[in-house]
């Protein structure tokens, strides 16, 4: 990691000697922009983080519910599955443009865009998780005459925890890219809108400074999810391949 960062900084420095500042600023200039933005514009990072967390939490909850309905209720399965599959085929840009036309409030727009993009990931993973439920464990718990709620509580939900955590780990980076994209088009505050402003005023140092914040945000969120995974799945032995 350190070697890669040093190489990138070296490449930036050398490039900055030969091209204009608005194309590639020096690492020092970017570092100054990082310090300046961290002291004056940090609220935009918090706004983006808040939007991201809220939308992910909603997508997770709604996706889990839809996945459970698909997995447990045969009558509704094909209807909901068709809706989710259609959703996965709609490009992010379509949702962004639709949100701009449909909603006036920028917060609603961004929430809607993120929710529609992230929800199918959770719904389909949970559905797959239920399909992968070991039949012998289901027979075992039913032999005790467990009712549906007890089967859900003692078997299905714990079985689905690894699926939820793996999906969260996989979509965090994608969700950050999507929230920035949505903010760029649909809002006047947040990192995405600030990046748009920096680009329009030829402040490439600020564009790179915001990018730095986003990389740090992604690494931090991944570390938090990994921590939760370690805590929640402490029962799972680590497999080592020789």
């Amino acid at each position: 990691m350190v070697v890669v960062v040093i190489c990138l900084l070296g490449a930036m420095e050398v490039s900055s000697w030969y091209v204009a500042e608005y194309i590639m600023p020096s690492p020092l200039k970017v570092a100054r922009a990082i310090v300046a933005l961290a002291t004056t514009d940090y609220t935009h990072v918090l706004i983006t983080l808040g939007r991201l967390c809220l939308a992910m939490l909603f997508a997770m909850t709604a996706g889990i519910i839809l996945g459970l309905v698909m997995g447990l209720f045969g009558v509704l399965r094909s209807f909901i599955k068709a809706l989710v599959v259609i959703d996965t085929g709609i490009p992010a840009l379509s949702w962004i443009l639709l949100a701009v036309f449909w909603f006036k409030n920028p917060e609603v727009r961004i929430f809607f865009i993120l929710a529609m993009i992230l929800l199918p990931f959770y719904a389909l993973t949970i559905y797959d998780g239920i399909r992968g439920l070991p039949r012998d464990l289901l027979d075992m718990i039913e032999s005790f005459r467990a009712n549906r709620t007890q089967v859900l509580r003692y078997l299905i939900i714990p079985h689905l925890v690894p699926y939820v955590l793996t999906t969260t780990k996989a979509v965090v980076g994608y969700a950050i890219r999507m929230v920035i994209f949505a903010e760029l088009v649909a809002s006047a505050v947040g990192v995405g809108s600030r990046m748009g402003l920096a680009q329009s005023t030829f402040r490439m140092d600020q564009v790179l400074a915001w990018t730095f914040f986003l990389i740090v945000l992604n690494i931090s969120l991944q570390a938090i999810v990994a921590g939760i995974e370690k805590l929640g799945l402490h029962w799972r032995p680590e497999a080592t391949v020789r």
Binding site: D136, L137, D139, S143, F144, R145, Q150, W235, R236
Partner: protein
């Protein structure tokens, strides 16, 4: 009141009366009738395809008979599925433990499903783990336990709900000979001490002779081919040998070959 044919005076816990079960054109169980009295340990022996699993599923209530009657503890296990909560427990061929729960959390599962308060369930489950020689292993996860220990947890989970009937579905057949023998001995001691009614479904002669009061041999097509009381055999080596030969003959196997197969398993 119906009484058990083999223990007159005791009401039967399991009662199968002219039960037929077909899968398409294949008749898996053909007019099967037998009873198991309270406190009895009965082995249901049969070769592959004899309908043992079908009979077990009928008793568990996961299958309904096409005709005839199945009663467990006075209830129809299929139509009155929930009525048998806490009255019936099953120990399967594999341990079927939940990997995210510790040994004691697995052992208390049936009690929690019964609606017992958590602290009470934990005390009972810990007691049963100690009873099957797993004291000190309560907080270990399943991957930290050996195959024999996991099967002991599975037995503790079944016994903890204080069922009237314990169904053992080839519960000892996945273990090595020594561990299987130890576990059979321990289980029998506990089952007899607490007067549990047990139906052991197995294809292994050793399991049946060592554990059961009575053996029912199922022939091809799911009918009773042989029914033998083993109580007198337990104390007399000559009778044991003769009984073994009789059962092996009913199973359609050579006794020596059967013993060799079991040793190899």
């Amino acid at each position: 009141m119906t009484v058990s044919a083999h223990n007159p005076g005791l009401p039967p816990i399991i009662e199968l009366n002219s039960v037929i079960k077909e899968f398409g054109s294949y008749r898996a169980v053909d007019k099967l009738s037998f009873t198991v009295a309270k406190g009895e340990i009965v082995a249901l022996l049969g070769r592959t395809g004899a309908g043992k699993t079908t009979v077990l599923n009928l008793i568990m209530g996961t299958l309904a008979p096409d005709s005839g009657r199945v009663m467990v503890a006075g209830f129809d296990p299929f139509r009155q599925f929930s009525a048998l909560k806490g009255k019936l427990a099953v120990s399967f061929q594999t341990d079927r433990l939940l990997p995210w729960r510790t040994a004691v959390e697995n052992a208390e599962l049936g009690l929690l499903i019964q609606g017992k308060p958590k602290d009470q369930a934990r005390t009972i489950a810990s007691g049963w783990l100690a009873r099957v020689n797993l004291a000190g292993a309560e907080n270990k996860y399943t991957h930290e336990l050996s195959g024999g220990m996991r099967q002991r947890v599975s037995l503790a989970r079944a016994l903890a709900v204080d069922p009237e009937l314990v169904l053992l579905d080839e519960s000892f057949s996945q273990l090595d000979h020594v561990t299987s023998h130890e576990l059979r001995q321990d289980f029998c001691a506990v089952a007899r001490e607490y007067g549990k009614t047990c139906l052991l479904v197995t294809h292994r002669l050793d399991d049946a002779i060592e554990m059961a009061d009575r053996v029912i041999v199922l022939g091809p097509g799911g009918h009773v081919k042989l029914e033998l009381s083993l109580r007198e055999a337990a104390t007399d080596e000559t009778v044991v040998g003769r009984t073994r030969s009789q059962i092996a003959a009913a199973l359609g196997e050579d006794t020596g070959k059967q013993q060799q197969n079991e040793r190899e398993e």
